[in-house]
């Protein structure tokens, strides 16, 4: 009777405090890890697995104490009752969470750097797209004149001012 009341209270406390432990898809996570950070990912995974194993090895509630047996055996008059009362009133303080705030701060920073990286990445893609467009809209080589070639690829233009005599480029570049 008194056991159930005590444990009822304790389980209600636990339900209120339980921080959500999300199920993590390690396979999907592993896919997204770039190859140069794989070692860090592996160490994180092993640590997470060991922590999870430790958690799983502990039962959620400790075995209840058989008060009636002790009450029948222990001769001292109020002792068992006193223990039982104190035990029922006892609340174990929950461990204080100091790290989640830091992790959230890290996440915010990571979000910011990720946004900056995404911007840079999009700029790169725009550049590549522009160059690709230029290549796609080029006339085929066998319909080009030398003028067209010089316009499309400025590096092929012969500098007639710097090298006035044929072949208009240093002999070593032929």
């Amino acid at each position: 009777m008194r056991n159930d009341a005590a444990f009822g209270r304790m389980s209600r406390e636990m339900a209120g405090r339980r921080a959500a432990i999300k199920a993590i898809d390690w396979v999907a996570f592993a896919e997204r890890v770039p190859p140069n950070q794989r070692a860090m990912f592996n160490s994180l995974k092993t640590r997470s697995d060991s922590v999870a194993a430790k958690l799983a090895s502990l039962p959620e509630k400790p075995a209840p104490i058989n008060w009636t047996y002790y009450r029948s055996v222990v001769a001292k008059a109020g002792m068992v009752d006193e223990f039982e009362k104190k035990f029922a009133e006892l609340t174990v303080p929950e461990p204080v969470d100091t790290q989640t705030a830091k992790i959230d701060a890290q996440e915010q920073e990571a979000n910011k750097t990720a946004a900056a990286y995404l911007e840079a990445s999009k700029a790169h893609i725009a550049e590549y797209e522009k160059a690709l467009e230029k290549f796609r809209n080029m006339i085929p080589f066998d319909q080009m004149t030398i003028e067209d070639l010089n316009n499309t690829f400025p590096e092929t233009k012969l500098d007639k001012a710097k090298h006035p005599y044929w072949p208009h480029k240093p002999i070593a570049d032929l």
Partner: protein
């Protein structure tokens, strides 16, 4: 004089003309169109190496197939008979050179043209390869950037994993504390029980010992002698009985 230069068939000019016939870049219009239409593959058709086909098609409606040939023969005979063209030593020189040149061109013309074409095609192929490689690398670059963006999207998983670890550690700690409390209380109660058992056992043993001692002490020497005498008397009676039984 200029006509003589042309008629004595400058070999370089003939070479150029035949090369032109074999290759394909021969602008036919002087208009500037943008974009430039592709150039024709072959030059204008010619008959007998020099005379353009347009002359024949021009004369065909009026004079039929033999028209231009009659024209040519007539012109030639006119020039010879009127001595507009004088036959001299150079005529034979021109004829011999012409024969050799025409033989050379007919024999080696196609291969030289093919060689020149190949040079050009190699240049174009190299440029095309460069262009293809550039396009492929750009496309690959775009793919890689997109992949990196996808990777970045998964960054929340790392923080979820970290928070999970923290939560699990806290939970483990809490459970350990619960277990510790229960175990300690149990230990205390068990200690009391064991203590009681110990007391009880010690009391029992002590009592038993004490009773033994007191019994042994209470056996006075007087009683001892009396019990020994009684035992002897009993033994005598028993002996008599057995003797009696034995004889009987």
């Amino acid at each position: 004089m200029l006509s003589r230069l042309v008629l004595t068939s400058n070999p370089v000019l003939l070479l150029l003309l035949s090369l032109v016939q074999a290759s394909r870049s021969f602008h036919q219009s002087s208009q500037s169109l943008a974009p430039v239409p592709p150039l024709p593959e072959k030059g204008g058709k010619v008959r007998h190496g020099i005379f353009p086909e347009e002359l024949f098609t021009l004369l065909y409606p009026k004079t039929g197939v033999t028209g231009p040939y009659m024209l040519g023969t007539g012109l030639l005979l006119y020039m010879l008979s009127k001595e507009i063209y004088v036959i001299n030593h150079e005529t034979f020189a021109a004829a011999s050179i012409g024969a050799v040149v025409i033989y050379g061109i007919k024999k080696f013309g196609p291969s030289v043209a093919a060689f020149a074409d190949k040079l050009n095609e190699d240049k174009v192929a190299k440029a095309q390869e460069v262009k293809d490689q550039a396009m492929a690398s750009l496309a690959q670059g775009i793919e890689d950037e997109k992949k990196e963006q996808w990777r970045v999207e998964g960054r929340h998983m790392l923080f979820d994993a970290k928070r999970n670890n923290v939560a699990m550690l806290l939970e483990t700690n809490y459970r350990e504390r619960l277990h510790m409390v229960t175990n300690e209380v149990k230990k205390r109660l068990d200690y009391q029980v064991q203590l009681q058992n110990l007391h009880r056992r010690m009391e029992q043993e002590h009592l038993v010992n004490w009773v033994e001692q007191s019994v042994i002490k209470s056996i006075t020497p007087q009683q001892e002698k009396e019990s020994i005498a009684k035992c002897i008397a009993d033994l005598k009676v028993l002996a008599k009985n057995t003797q009696a039984r034995a004889t009987v």
